[in-house]
């Protein structure tokens, strides 16, 4: 039977990992991920898992060891944050293009400099072109559910692409919530046995992983990698529906909240989507036609779903928790505008919450009020605004 427990986001993900019981987990500490691996270490120490736990000397080696383990046919995981993810950057690409179904929770934290340990999305956004699937979590429950589903998504034969499950540093990772933790047997049954397509450890069939590829094949390999992540558009909702049937919580590429008849829509990622739901409910009660579209899958990006959900509104406000320096807007807003290409819909980006800067319900309401104004005037300028910044 599922059990309701008071857990932090880090603990919830550690529970998911314990219940998945991967063959290999590599770990290296970094705030705010540390508590996650500490909890998993407790499970190892208490014999709750029989995972081989490798305590490496850097995140670069964590990802490298996990690549080796996955190539050897193991279900392999690691977790990181911020600078740790940045240090892995080289190997992220290798993991994805070697088509290894690794699952990695990323506890979102701002990248240095200045050094800062608090939440923003600059780490994950920096890895958005690495070839990984990226699932954002709104709260600890979703971080738990996403970690379990990520195994099925990554290992699907049509996908074979690694998955990052993100949770906002401190806000989710250290906040205590009531989380419904499933039966270990139910989780084991849901994720199933891992049957690798290829392994280094088949004595009858030696295999070469990671060959050098020149101009005569490189492009075809990259093109086939696209097929893998594109297949995830179908597999992510499939797995999310099956999860819903079994456990009562369904997931798709996006989640709509109060979008029916909404004139102004907000697009947000992660924990902010949870705050925005409360703001939308409150404004709706006051008769204001506003709604929220929460993005769960950032990669592959849900263009079609967004176009359909946003296309009915008259204005869109996007909340970006990172900057794409020198670009016309933050990473999320760039993607949203791209999804709406050809539609005459004003879109404004709101950059907020960098380095853990708090975002209040009042500030989210202000953004939605401005979006309602945009719906009337059709005027999106300025295209980018910074929330609660001293200029």
């Amino acid at each position: 039977m599922a059990e309701r427990m008071a857990l932090t986001g880090n603990e919830a993900v550690a529970y998911a990992m314990m219940q998945i019981n991967p063959d290999v987990v590599a770990a290296y500490p970094i705030t705010p991920q540390t508590a996650l691996m500490q909890k998993f270490a407790d499970f190892v120490a208490d014999g709750e898992v029989d995972t081989q736990f490798v305590l490496v000397e850097s995140e670069h080696s964590a990802m490298s060891a996990v690549v080796g383990a996955a190539a050897a046919g193991a279900r392999a995981m690691t977790a990181t944050a911020a600078n740790g993810l940045a240090l892995m950057w080289e190997i992220l690409y290798i993991a994805a293009s070697t088509r290894l179904p690794i699952v990695m929770p990323v506890v979102n934290r701002a990248l240095s400099a200045p050094i800062n340990i608090l939440c923003d999305h600059s780490d994950t956004m920096g890895a958005r072109d690495s070839g990984w699937i990226q699932l954002f979590s709104e709260n600890a429950q979703e971080a738990y559910d996403n970690t379990i589903q990520a195994v099925r998504i990554a290992e699907h034969r049509d996908v074979l692409t690694p998955v990052m499950v993100t949770l906002d540093g401190f806000i989710i990772s250290h906040g205590l919530e009531v989380v419904e933790v499933l039966d270990k047997e139910a989780v084991q049954d849901f994720v199933g046995e891992y049957e690798p397509a290829y392994t280094l450890l088949d004595p009858e069939h030696p295999i070469t992983f990671g060959p050098i590829d020149f101009s005569d094949y490189y492009m075809e390999h990259k093109r086939s990698q696209v097929d893998g992540i594109e297949a995830a558009r179908r597999v992510i909702p499939e797995v999310g529906r099956e999860f819903g049937k079994r456990f009562g919580r369904s997931y798709g590429m996006i989640e709509e909240h109060g979008t029916d008849g909404a004139e102004a829509l907000l697009v947000a990622l992660g924990s902010t989507a949870g705050s925005a739901k409360a703001v939308v409910d409150d404004m709706r009660e006051r008769g204001l036609p506003v709604g929220l579209v929460k993005i769960r899958a950032f990669r592959p990006f849900p263009y079609e779903e967004l176009r359909e959900a946003l296309g009915k509104a008259k204005a869109v406000a996007v909340m970006d928790r990172s900057i794409s320096f020198g670009a016309q807007a933050g990473p999320l807003a760039l993607e949203v505008r791209s999804a709406l290409y050809g539609l005459s819909l004003p879109v404004r980006d709101y950059i907020y919450g960098l380095g853990g800067r708090n975002i209040t319900l009042e500030e989210i309401e202000d953004i939605l009020q401005e979006a309602l104004e945009m719906a009337k005037t059709k005027e999106a300028e300025p295209l980018v605004k910074y929330v609660s910044v001293r200029e």
Partner: protein, 307 residues
């Protein structure tokens, strides 16, 4: 101990047809190492980015008849440690049959320099793996740049001999000593010229439980500038001049495994290589003397340490 005849009859796990240069020392080492590993069953070889990797795995071909993984430049130790960990996990869960040995190959760039941290970490964690450095004393794959293994006064493309500077100004890092300081079960320095000594060390390395390390001199005809039929001779002279002593460190005990009957002057080795040509000019004689003094010092230190 296997004879050459017996070794020649063992399965060849690195097939002919690869694109290593004629006269390259590395395949000599790799072919022997894979033989020693295969005495125990299946083999998985990890290879760092470098000459060996780019010349043996050109898609859609592969020269590797055992399983092979290349990940990146600096992480072959971490990668093979992950493979070995997966083997332990899958073996315990009954998902893998048969026995496997795990070997990592890195050049001196990938081992002395960029891969040193990953190597140190993997050794400390105690994985059952053999790490073999094929040391050709520079970044040969990218075109002969200086590494921390490059000998004093040698010419490379990043420490060239010019009007003011005369090659590398530093002495090489003592990598074998650094690895020995990890107190792993087995550490050895070997050379392709002494196949018998090398093969015996490889056998020991693959027999111990836990990490083992071999640093093997594999001369590079392009980078050292010698005719491609003199590779083994160049390795032999490095040993006979005591520039590259053969020794092993077993359970903390140091032992020189080959003492030349008569230690040859370093010049015997240096004068046969284009990268040292400038050392024969009278105005650079002092550099050769410095190089000789350092070789003598290190050799005496090793003898004092050796049982």
């Amino acid at each position: 101990m296997a004879t050459l005849k017996e070794l020649s009859r063992m399965p060849e796990l690195l097939s002919p047809g690869h694109r290593m240069c004629p006269g390259c020392g590395a395949p000599i080492l790799v072919r022997l190492a894979l033989r020693a590993a295969s005495e125990h069953g299946g083999v998985v070889a990890g290879v760092a980015t470098g000459c060996l990797e780019v010349s043996t795995s050109i898609f859609p071909y592969t020269a590797w008849r055992c399983s092979f993984i290349h990940n990146a430049f600096e992480n072959v130790a971490a990668t093979i440690s992950g493979v070995e960990t997966a083997y332990k996990a899958l073996k315990a869960r009954g998902k893998v049959e048969g026995n496997f040995k795990f070997v990592a190959f890195g050049g001196d760039g990938g081992t002395y320099d960029i891969g040193l941290q990953a190597l140190s970490g993997a050794l400390e964690r105690g994985h059952d793996m053999v790490y073999i450095c094929y040391d050709n004393e520079a970044y040969m794959n990218t075109g002969i740049q200086r590494s921390s293994s490059t000998p004093f006064a040698a010419h490379t493309t990043t420490c060239p001999v010019g009007k003011v500077r005369k090659g590398k100004t530093e002495f090489p890092k003592d990598l074998t000593g650094i690895v020995a300081a990890h107190r792993i079960p087995y550490v050895a320095q070997a050379s392709i010229s002494h196949w018998n000594d090398l093969y015996r060390k490889l056998q020991k390395a693959f027999s111990v439980e836990g990490p083992a390390f071999l640093n093997v001199l594999t001369p590079c005809t392009r980078g050292w500038r010698f005719p491609s039929d003199e590779t083994v001779e160049m390795a032999r002279l490095a040993v006979e001049t005591c520039f590259w002593p053969l020794y092993e460190v077993e359970d903390g005990r140091w032992k020189v495994t080959f003492k030349p009957r008569q230690k040859k002057p370093l010049e015997e080795w240096v004068k046969r290589q284009g990268r040292f040509r400038h050392l024969l000019q009278p105005e650079n004689r002092h550099l050769l003397e410095q190089a000789q003094a350092e070789v003598d010092k290190r050799w005496e230190e090793l003898l004092a340490r050796s049982e």
